[in-house]
């Protein structure tokens, strides 16, 4: 295992609330009230709500989160853990960071394995575009939570995957084992896993391209020509 990486990761894990920024109520309020009683903003509230729910341990607790995480990891020698896949932002996908794209690319392959041939291959469903569009409609607050959870997930592999490198650099078997650690880990790790899983499942299964092998019909009223009845006639009682 690369010593600098191990040290960097361990330092991140240990320094915790003292050394890194923690998400406080003040941080959250900088992005507006958690649930405003005023009319809804033009975000996608469905995923927003689901993620807000799932990632709640990341807001409720004084969790290690890193606006400064990336900078700190560089200081601690993360350069030695340079990504082996592209972490460039991509044209046409403006809302996901390059690192998020790299993480999601791995996650789609791991979570929805389509190599058995029966599900529509992930490559044939615009999953990254769907994920990018979904993230675009999140409030800044939830978007940031997701970003931080994903960054911690990626970098946490340096310490706990046994391979001394980031999640996006792991081989298939190690990546699957690491993902399963987060699925069954403590509350914070389970929450990050749950949040990422929600984006993955929504981006794949809500796309009509994925429905054929499921025999799911999708919307039917237009396609079956079902007649709209309009308002009911005035009642006699």
């Amino acid at each position: 295992m690369d010593a600098a990486c191990a040290h960097g990761g361990a330092a991140w894990v240990r320094i915790g609330p003292r050394g890194l920024r923690t998400l406080t109520a003040a941080d959250a309020s900088a992005y507006g009230p958690l649930v405003s009683e005023t009319p809804q903003a033009p975000h996608d509230p469905s995923l927003e709500g689901a993620l807000r729910r799932t990632l709640q341990p990341w807001t409720r607790r004084r969790v290690i989160v890193g606006a400064g995480l990336a900078g700190l990891t560089v200081l601690l020698g993360f350069r030695a853990c340079a990504p082996r896949v592209s972490t460039e932002a991509r044209p046409g996908l403006p809302s996901l960071t390059g690192t998020q794209l790299a993480i999601f690319e791995r996650l789609f392959a791991l979570m929805i394995p389509t190599r058995l041939g029966a599900l529509v291959p992930v490559a044939n469903v615009p999953v990254l575009a769907n994920a990018d569009a979904a993230v675009a409609r999140l409030t800044p607050e939830v978007r940031l939570l997701l970003q931080r959870a994903m960054l911690a997930f990626d970098l946490g592999a340096i310490v706990t995957s046994g391979e001394g490198t980031r999640f996006i650099n792991l081989g298939d078997d190690a990546a699957a084992a690491y993902l399963s650690q987060w699925q069954h880990g403590g509350e914070i790790r389970r929450a990050a896993y749950g949040g990422m899983r929600q984006v993955v499942m929504l981006s794949y299964y809500s796309d009509p391209a994925a429905w054929v092998p499921l025999s799911y019909d999708g919307p039917v009223t237009e396609s079956r020509g079902i007649v709209r009845l309009g308002h009911a006639p005035l009642p006699e009682v």
């Binding site: 009230p33 799911y216 999708g218």
Partner: protein
């Protein structure tokens, strides 16, 4: 009193909203202003309008026409659900769904209809002094409502494959189960009740009480969030609100309505919040308290046979073997989710997940709804609401019984596997496993995915101002000209789906307001 002017059934309703408002102030005067256009608000508005009162309904959500019901859940969440479907309790483990659009929750509900059960009415009479709430005296109100709204017992063609599995399992076990009644006319069997009925067959308030009230002269303002009830002394004299563009959030107009009487029917979460904002205080400190959520879990099963659960009426049948006090007090109703929702109820990821998703045509699902005590509360810190609710020991015990019974129903119907809605799905393969698996579940906050479709009880009705917020006539104790007419009135939780009870209560409040 003028005769009603029947509206063109296929034309948009003449609703005033952010898309057509002129000027930056809407100032109106009326006999009665009703906050909310859902089950309670629209029913009451219709009763008052047809008795000749001038009525304005003010609705925070959008006016969404059925032609814009896309049958795609994420889209319909955004268009028609409170907080876009993201509303939860403070722990974040119970999703609390409510409609937020003209027609309120009736637009997105499952259309299941039950009269108020006698067990609840008995408590309301004995403990809360609602002496005239007897099954016999309420029967004519229910009969009239049921005729108006096309309530009927599902015919054979309205029992989907999903509901047939529930019926088969119960039959094998000898448990009582039967088709439910629904307020649907000529159901097109699209299976999209929870997305809003795109062909207007579900007799929601959007196609019944709202247009009928308008035919009798009522007006509707949409996109208009009521901020406060205004008072002169202790007398309610109107409301103020904001009309906002639902897409940009921009304020389009301030709304100011003077009224002889104000009725709050904003639903059991929003009604107490509005009363808090308006600085209403009740004598016993019960405002916002006594919240019941009637929590439910979705149990899914991989069946040997093909089920095609998404095809057919959304809810066909129920198992009511455990409904009565002493029998467990939980209820099963069928309901099959779309793939993106189902995916989150099946094994978490990987090959096992993919294999189970490929079984989609074989998956059956049922909601298990449990009766709860009114132990929750709503609070408001001036900016943010908090819905504080946790399962108590009694509810946890009930949930365990419900999960076990649900697993047994599916296994008796021939399921290969049953999945319980823990965050990554717990699998049960045989009846022998049921007891051990279920007793090992902790049911602590965050360990079970739950949904509340039926919040109720935050402004409870009763004869004693020290124990209730609202009197038997619907008027808020200690105030004049201020009424509540929605699910927040229910003094104790009813285990059966509540929409008919809400219609009935609103119709009664309207009758009292008319001096009947």
């Amino acid at each position: 009193m003028n005769p009603p002017t029947e509206l063109d059934r296929h034309a948009p309703l003449p609703v005033l909203d952010a898309s057509n408002v002129q000027g930056d102030l809407v100032s109106l005067k009326t006999d009665v202003v009703v906050v909310g256009s859902g089950a309670g608000g629209a029913t009451l508005a219709y009763e008052l309008a047809r008795a000749g009162k001038s009525v304005i309904m003010v609705e925070a959500g959008r006016y969404v026409r059925s032609k814009d019901f896309s049958e795609h859940l994420p889209d319909m969440f955004a268009k028609t659900y409170q907080d876009g479907g993201g509303q939860t309790n403070a722990d974040g483990d119970i999703m609390i769904v409510q409609g937020r659009c003209v027609g309120g929750s009736t637009v997105v509900n499952g259309a299941v209809c039950f009269r108020t059960p006698e067990a609840a009415l008995r408590d309301w009479r004995d403990e809360f002094g609602l002496v005239d709430m007897t099954t016999e005296r309420l029967a004519p109100i229910f009969e009239a409502l049921e005729r108006r709204l096309g309530v009927h017992v599902n015919g054979a063609h309205e029992i989907s494959g999903n509901s047939r599995v529930l019926l088969q399992g119960c039959e094998a076990l000898g448990w009582s189960a039967h088709p439910v009644s629904r307020n649907v006319k000529d159901c097109a069997l699209s299976g999209f009740c929870f997305h809003g009925c795109a062909s207007d067959r579900k007799q929601s308030a959007l196609v019944t009480h709202v247009p009928w009230a308008m035919a009798h002269g009522a007006k509707v303002l949409a996109d208009t969030f009521v901020e406060r009830v205004r008072f002169e002394g202790r007398r309610a004299v109107g409301i103020t609100g904001q009309m906002r563009d639902p897409f940009t959030g921009e304020i389009k107009a301030r709304v100011h309505i003077d009224a002889e009487r104000v009725v709050v029917a904003a639903g059991p979460i929003q009604t107490p919040l509005l009363l808090f904002r308006s600085e209403v205080k009740d004598q016993g400190g019960h405002l916002g308290r006594n919240l019941a959520l009637h929590p439910s879990v979705l149990i899914t099963a991989d069946m040997e046979q093909e089920v095609m659960g998404h095809r057919g009426a959304s809810v066909g049948a129920c198992c009511d073997a455990f409904v009565e006090p002493g029998a467990g007090r939980f209820l099963f109703e069928g309901g099959m989710p779309s793939p993106e929702v189902l995916a989150l109820h099946l094994p978490a990821h990987g090959e096992e997940h993919a294999e189970t998703m490929l079984r989609y045509p074989h998956i059956a699902a049922t909601a298990c709804l449990i009766w709860d005590r009114n132990n929750g509360s709503i609070s408001y810190d001036g900016k943010v609401k908090s819905i504080d609710y946790r399962l108590g020991d009694e509810e946890k015990a009930r949930l365990r019984l419900g999960l076990a019974a649900g697993a047994r129903i599916f296994l008796a119907a021939g399921a290969r596997s049953v999945f319980l809605p823990t965050p990554t799905a717990t699998r049960i393969r045989s009846p022998e496993e049921v007891g051990n698996v279920i007793s090992a579940l902790s049911l602590d906050p965050g360990t079970m995915q739950m949904i509340s479709y039926h919040p109720q009880g935050t402004c409870r009705m009763g004869a004693d101002p020290a124990r209730s917020v609202v009197g038997p006539d619907g008027a808020v104790f200690g105030y004049e000209a201020l009424y509540v007419a929605d699910a927040s009135l229910l003094p104790t939780a009813i285990l059966l789906n509540p929409q008919m009870t809400v219609y009935m209560m609103a119709a009664r409040v309207a009758a009292r307001m008319l001096g009947q």
